[in-house]
């Protein structure tokens, strides 16, 4: 993790500022150090770089103007939503314009009959659900940062949340995106109908980390709020047992509204912080939620309880009321800040693996804790195999920083070796760009670059994120893992 050199070419800066000043009001173009400093990082605070210029357009025409200027001057553009991203996708460039969509934060339309909301990119995720609440509707994806993160950023990252297994990710809940290409052209992808002619460019743009187009408007699907939700809190003496219980729930034909797991170091950290009432003696706890009509909830709860008991749960509690359900969740949702309290710094990983490899992964992480002398509490979206191990370290200690980076790299590479991916929902950004060389072959990476060229031939939109260059992979020098199989799988790797 490094802070890049902040040297900015003053002449170039003056040129870009002058050109942007012809397109935007003066108050929408920032370049003085004290004004641009707040934009030097996103949620991945270990990486910082001061942007050459910050542009704050207020409408789509201004976004077009900024992109035309940048395109003409060949200036890189880094789009930014609320800046809560965890992978450095909005890390600025000292040679580039940081394009903040924060001023475009209006809900343009909400149609309770058609169950859609048309919003500007800077609208907060939770604000959509709040606006829809009077109609008994909500926007389903609920990343932990939902009080702050913006829908434009959610589109860029294909954000998930704790209810994805049943309700899907951003890509499943966004119907249409209006955006501007680097050439300054407006494109509409997807539709307020259920499909659109041609290729599914909407799917390509969702999760593209702001590298294909700048989002200026989003139509999201709203879904009826379940009449009732209740949550089971189950504790296990053994982490492996808890992992197997997750598979058993799914095998029983149940799709829980949420299925989360935390290990003992994680429950202990959060319990001190929020007093959720977790069983601190348990090696792991599971949160399993059922939602729907009262009839459905009763039926699903009974089935899940039976499965969890059969899987060896040592204690099972079912939320008696909404307050208790929210308390069960409060611990899980506060996991990151709680861990932040017990360590000067932490890094959150985001690999996803097939559920059946969960126990194996936990054992490997325990071994790596020993190897690197660092603690690593674990929280997981167990239902969809998405892991968030949190490595605790002190960034002021260069050796700890180095060990942390190696620890992260080993876990991510193991995720690929287990047939999974280096990132389930936080994005590649700058953080996991080296591991992309492990997950994908040179030809696959070149195909990604082809997709990029089709939208942005000159490579000006958020360059050097997400898709590593050939050169970068050559430097990193790790093996590519094909189809989840490492070459020579018989060799021990720890």
């Amino acid at each position: 993790m490094n802070t890049r050199d902040t040297g900015i070419d003053a002449a170039r800066q003056a040129e870009v500022v002058a050109a942007l000043a012809r397109a935007l009001p003066a108050s929408s173009v920032l370049f003085q150090e004290e004004d641009t400093r707040p934009y030097e990082c996103d949620g991945l605070t270990a990486y910082r770089e001061r942007p050459m210029v910050v542009a704050l357009p207020e409408n789509e025409a201004e976004v077009q103007a900024v992109l035309r200027v940048c395109s003409a001057l060949a200036v890189p553009v880094i789009p930014r939503g609320a800046g809560t991203g965890l992978s450095g996708g909005a890390l600025p460039s000292r040679r580039g314009v940081l394009l903040s969509l924060a001023r475009m934060k209006r809900i343009l339309a909400l149609d309770p009959i058609a169950r859609i909301a048309r919003v500007q990119p800077g609208v907060r995720n939770l604000a959509i659900s709040e606006a829809a609440a009077p109609y008994g509707l909500y926007y389903a994806p609920d990343p932990s940062s939902q009080i702050a993160c913006s829908i434009g950023g959610n589109v860029a990252e294909n954000a998930g949340g704790v209810h994805c297994l049943k309700y899907g990710l951003t890509v499943h809940n966004v119907m249409r995106v209006r955006g501007v290409t680097i050439a300054g052209e407006v494109v509409e992808l997807g539709s307020e109908a259920l499909d659109a002619p041609g290729f599914d460019l909407l799917a390509a743009v969702v999760g593209s980390e702001g590298m294909l187009a700048v989002v200026t408007e989003v139509t999201v699907r709203l879904v009826p709020k379940p009449e009732l939700a209740r949550c089971i809190l189950a504790s296990f003496d053994d982490v492996e047992q808890a992992g197997n219980a997750v598979a058993a729930v799914i095998a029983a034909g149940i799709i829980p509204a949420g299925l989360e797991m935390m290990d003992r170091p994680a429950t202990r950290a959060v319990e001190e912080f929020v007093h959720a009432g977790y069983d601190l003696e348990a090696a792991a706890i599971l949160l399993a939620e059922a939602d729907g009509t009262p009839e459905e909830v009763a039926e699903d709860l009974a089935r899940m309880k039976a499965v969890l008991e059969h899987s060896g749960a040592r204690n099972i509690r079912v939320s008696r009321d909404e307050a208790e359900r929210l308390r069960f969740w409060a611990g899980r949702k506060a996991a990151f800040p709680a861990v932040g309290r017990i360590s000067p710094d932490y890094v959150c990983m985001d690999g996803t693996i097939p559920r059946k490899r969960l126990a194996e992964m936990l054992r490997a992480i325990a071994r790596l804790e020993q190897k690197y002398g660092l603690r690593c509490p674990n929280v997981f979206h167990a239902g969809d195999g998405n892991l968030h191990p949190l490595i605790l370290f002190d960034a002021n200690d260069p050796d700890q920083l180095r060990r942390t980076e190696q620890f992260v790299a080993e876990v991510l590479e193991l995720s690929v070796a287990f047939g999974g991916t280096v990132t389930g929902e936080h994005g590649v950004g700058i953080e996991k760009i080296n591991q992309m060389c492990v997950q994908f072959s040179p030809a696959e990476l070149e195909c990604f670059r082809g997709v990029k060229r089709a939208f942005d031939p000159d490579g000006l939109l958020n360059p050097e994120k997400n898709i590593p260059s050939l050169h970068r992979c050559a430097e990193y020098g790790k093996m590519h893992v094909q189809g989840g199989k490492l070459p020579h799988p018989e060799l021990p790797r720890f």
């Binding site: 598979a247 729907g292 559920r355 990132t423 990604f448 082809g450």
Partner: protein, 354 residues
């Protein structure tokens, strides 16, 4: 035995070298769909079989040449299903063709489209390169979502050698109800249902009759029956009904007249079009069997915020698919050139010029 994926890749490489155009084909059940067919047939059926299926992971990985019916039978043995309820249009339909066509059936409005269930692909591009995208896990944001980009690409970007799909448990209970309603009231009613937590899994309105299917937990289906009302359709009859809608054998799809598919926002009031109409997907999908003027129909659909496809029959010179906006069309052309630089794969199947 030669590796069937390698055999397909060799055939693509040879065609690329000689500039031979290929027509990628599985069971040929969707030959009717898209613009004119051209090129030498590249038969994908040799590349068949289920690669991996673990019911507790809710994922199946299957080769493109596998028959859809075989895949569905395998899933049914574990009480699981393809939740997007794909149409087969014939027993020979293959999984690769299903993904390339990108079509979903009656459950689409409730469960999601085919593209929503695609988790990963093994793709042979127009150079014959063997490429893996996505994977077997539910959440994966590494790189661009090339897998979903292939859903509905009509084989113009590459040959789907393997695909990993999310599968779901078969609902425990199911019931179909029938109500008599005129078109405008039916559209309103379907939208109202969709805004409430009801287990509606399919809707179909035609000729003054609205059929609605409920799927889910036993108790939920029972409770919803009370709220929706109408007459219960006998289970056997209901199965035949939804199959007829999925497979277009229902009388409403017509036999002679061209079949138009209008995809519009769900709450769009009746379009006032001549001819026999069938409305699905809570109002979002309107089928019209009629000799209609393409230009008028497309402008009507666009006005409503949707698009019109000449799904089957008719004069394809009007263009099967709604024309794209120039900036979007340019991205399509560039994507095609990146994935298939020699322009050999299903050329002209989606839009004539490429």
């Amino acid at each position: 035995m030669t590796d069937p994926v390698a055999a397909l890749a060799d055939a693509i490489r040879a065609a690329a070298a000689s500039g031979t155009r290929l027509r990628v084909r599985g069971g040929g059940t969707k030959d009717f769909y898209g613009q004119a067919l051209a090129g030498e047939i590249l038969d994908t059926r040799g590349c068949a079989g289920i690669v991996a299926y673990e019911p507790t992971e809710l994922v199946v990985t299957v080769r493109g040449g596998t028959r859809v019916a075989e895949l569905e039978a395998t899933l049914a043995r574990e009480a699981q299903m393809l939740a997007f309820e794909p149409p087969h249009f014939g027993a020979a339909a293959t999984v690769g063709g299903m993904v390339a066509a990108g079509l979903s059936g009656p459950r689409r409005a409730a469960a999601g489209a085919l593209r929503d269930f695609v988790l990963g692909v093994r793709l042979l591009d127009g150079r014959g390169q063997d490429l893996f995208f996505g994977g077997q896990v539910m959440k994966n944001v590494a790189g661009y979502d090339v897998s979903r980009l292939l859903a509905g690409s009509l084989g113009t970007l590459g040959v789907i050698a393997e695909v990993s799909l999310k599968v779901l448990p078969v609902p425990v209970a199911e019931a179909t109800l029938r109500l008599e309603l005129p078109e405008d009231r039916a559209v309103e009613t379907m939208n109202r249902w969709a805004g409430r937590p009801l287990p509606v899994s399919a809707t179909a309105w035609r000729r003054g009759q609205l059929d609605v299917r409920l799927s889910g937990a036993e108790a939920a289906v029972r409770a919803a029956r009370g709220r929706i009302g109408g007459e219960v359709v006998a289970p056997g009859e209901a199965d035949a009904l939804w199959r007829g809608i999925r497979e277009h054998t229902d009388a409403c799809f017509g036999a002679e007249a061209p079949l138009w598919r209008l995809s519009v926002p769900s709450a769009t009031p009746p379009l006032g079009l001549p001819g026999d109409q069938l409305i699905e997907w809570g109002g979002s999908l309107r089928w019209l069997a009629a000799d209609a003027d393409a230009r008028a129909l497309r402008s009507r659909a666009a006005q409503a915020g949707g698009h019109a496809t000449l799904f089957r029959g008719g004069d394809k010179s009007v263009g099967v698919f709604q024309p794209l906006a120039p900036a979007v069309a340019a991205i399509h052309r560039r994507l095609k050139a990146e994935f298939d630089p020699h322009g050999i794969l299903n050329r002209g199947r989606m839009y004539e010029e490429w």
